[in-house]
């Protein structure tokens, strides 16, 4: 049963890295770096969708296992990054067991990129969460609304300028006025 399991085949890492580099072409912002899990690459945000589509459909690569989408706010980071927001895409190739960790940077003034939902159905909730926590918009998402925070919530909690406590706490909860004779003295 376990003979046909997905296993990591590190001998393909170099070939896959070169192929990805070729697919990314001029959109790549960095060289494809080999990591313990597979390959990491930085790419221009506008090219993300086409690049991942090509990586998914290429018969030699087959990055068709969706793993995760998340974001990082680099506004407080000690080293300079190209833009404030980084969206990190992770997909896995069942034939080689390698992971592709793709980073695309988005500017603070216009945090928007193309949605991956037509490509990977699992991107739906991940993108909603990134929108919920960072305010990054995904063009073409069928139902982009808050997922974990309440719909009437104000602000984007995982941004670095959002404080850990002190803002918006319990504002949307009903407040009951103590009636005569039954009130608590605080």
């Amino acid at each position: 049963m376990s003979s046909d399991l997905i296993t990591l085949q590190p001998e393909h890492r170099e070939r896959v890295g070169a192929k990805l580099q070729e697919l990314a072409g001029s959109a790549a912002l960095s060289d494809a770096v080999e990591s313990p899990n597979g390959i990491t690459l930085e790419i221009r945000a506008a090219a993300t969708f086409d690049f991942l589509k090509a990586a998914k459909e290429d018969p030699e690569l087959q990055f068709e296992y969706f793993i995760d989408i998340t974001a990082i706010d680099y506004s407080d980071y000690s080293e300079a990054k190209p833009e404030r927001f980084a969206v990190v895409y992770t997909v896995l190739s069942p034939i080689t067991g390698l992971r592709l960790e793709l980073t695309a940077y988005l500017a603070e003034s216009h945090p928007q990129t193309q949605s991956l939902v037509p490509l990977f159905a699992g991107a739906g909730w991940c993108e909603r969460e990134v929108f919920d926590m960072y305010g990054i918009r995904f063009a073409g998402h069928p139902d982009l609304k808050r997922i974990l925070m309440p719909d009437d919530f104000d602000g984007y909690p995982l941004r670095k300028d959002y404080p850990l406590k002190g803002r918006g706490e319990r504002a949307s909860f009903p407040v009951y006025e103590a009636s005569e004779g039954h009130g608590r003295n605080i």
């Binding site: 997905i6 296992y65 998340t70």
Partner: protein, 403 residues
């Protein structure tokens, strides 16, 4: 503000809008479903989550690496030890340290015991939702014994917080190995009982075969991992893909089913529990005395005995524990993703370090979040009674779903 009115919201032309949850016995947590039904048939379903959102990822940016271990308990509260271990492993990879052999063995032992407890409980609950009541009691009795073991090891039953960066909070108590060996036989009996009572039971087969089928393509597209993915023919197990903590030295099979229905999801967990018992027996045979913590005290909390009696260890203890500035564990400035196989699938931690005592960003990739998304798609066309079957076979844990 949310207003939950009566169960039935409105009715038009034979279509009924019905609300399930967020606090409903069959949802096993705080999940809400907005259903459109015609008769007993579900024609549309919208999921709403986030009722248990606690901001773990934000909190992680303000807590030290060791403090965050306590937060991981609260993610999947059915198998907290697996979360502890997955997180500790991620930080160790960030620091590029490797724990001693005994620590690895203890971690594997507890991870597999915890996996059995999780599968046992979730499948017991699933059969209870289908109307069989004895099975959950059998499962609960065994889980209780497993929790007694966890209590003996960690001091608590639920919020275990057993791992530390680079090791463990403390070693196993004396005589635990024998106790676990005894337990393994009892667990095998209960697994056989759970298997025999259901897998050839016509009522169970009628209610689960062909119910909630996830195709392999959907499993890949939605990022479904763990037993649910493997029941749909995705042969993906991180213990084999990247054998962390020495899983490659142990002999075990990974069951894979092709059907992708609720029956396969039940059957696969029975097989997985048996494989876990195999792993436990092998680990017990290999376990030898030795240190449990990484030796360099710059990264790892020193042993309490040493802290009380040795000046240098006391200084190291303070350096690791004190907040702010140049104190704490200071990993290199890197971004790292590390994933482990927990009972529900792939639990990943994306850690971004800025060189300080707290992570710059902690992303938790919870298996339930990715597994549960497909639910509304596969529910369409099923009966209301199948709603609980499918939900039970998913084992969605709201703690890690909403974080």
């Amino acid at each position: 503000m949310y207003v939950f009115q009566s169960e039935v919201i409105e009715e038009d032309e034979g279509t009924l809008h019905m609300n399930v949850g967020p606090s409903h016995p069959a949802t096993h947590g705080t999940l809400r479903l907005k259903l459109e039904i015609q008769g007993e048939k579900v024609i549309n379903c919208e999921q709403e989550i986030g009722f248990l959102h606690t901001g773990f990822e934000k909190l992680g940016e303000y807590r030290s690496y060791n403090q965050f271990v306590t937060v991981t308990d609260r993610m999947n509260y059915i198998s907290p030890l697996n979360n502890n271990i997955g997180y500790a492993l991620a930080v160790e990879e960030l620091l590029e340290i490797e724990v001693p052999q005994r620590c690895k063995h203890i971690r594997i032992l507890l991870a597999e015991l915890s996996r059995v407890a999780d599968h046992m409980f979730s499948m017991g609950a699933m059969t209870m939702d289908l109307g069989a009541f004895s099975s959950i009691l059998w499962a609960f009795v065994e889980r209780e014994k497993l929790y007694d073991v966890f209590e003996a090891v960690t001091g608590t039953r639920l919020t275990t917080s057993y791992t530390r960066v680079g090791g463990l909070a403390f070693d196993l108590p004396d005589g635990l190995e024998d106790r676990v060996r005894e337990l393994v036989d009892q667990l095998q009996d209960t697994i056989d009982k759970l298997r025999d009572s259901f897998l050839e039971n016509p009522i169970f087969i009628n209610r689960t075969r062909g119910i909630g089928v996830i195709t392999k393509e959907d499993a890949l597209n939605f990022g479904i991992t763990g037993p649910i993915g493997r029941a749909s023919g995705v042969p993906y197990d991180l213990r084999k893909l990247r054998p962390y903590m020495g899983y490659d030295e142990l002999k075990f099979e990974v069951p894979v089913y092709e059907a992708g229905d609720s029956y396969a999801r039940y059957a696969i967990r029975m097989d997985e529990m048996e494989q876990s018992l195999r792993i436990i027996e092998q680990v017990l045979d290999r376990m030898e005395p030795g240190p449990i913590n990484y030796e360099d005290q710059k990264h790892v909390l020193p042993d309490k005995e040493q802290v009380y009696n040795d000046m240098e260890s006391l200084i190291h203890h303070f350096k690791v524990v004190m907040p702010g500035g140049q104190h704490g564990i200071q990993p290199p400035k890197v971004q790292l993703y590390s994933a482990t196989e927990v009972p529900n699938g792939e639990l990943g931690f994306l850690l971004v370090s800025d060189g300080g005592a707290s992570p710059y960003r902690v992303r938790v990739r919870p298996p339930s979040f990715h597994n549960y998304q497909v639910y509304s798609k596969i529910l369409k066309g099923h009966m209301i009674a199948d709603l609980v079957t499918i939900l039970g076979s998913f084992n969605v844990i709201a703690g890690e779903l909403d974080r």
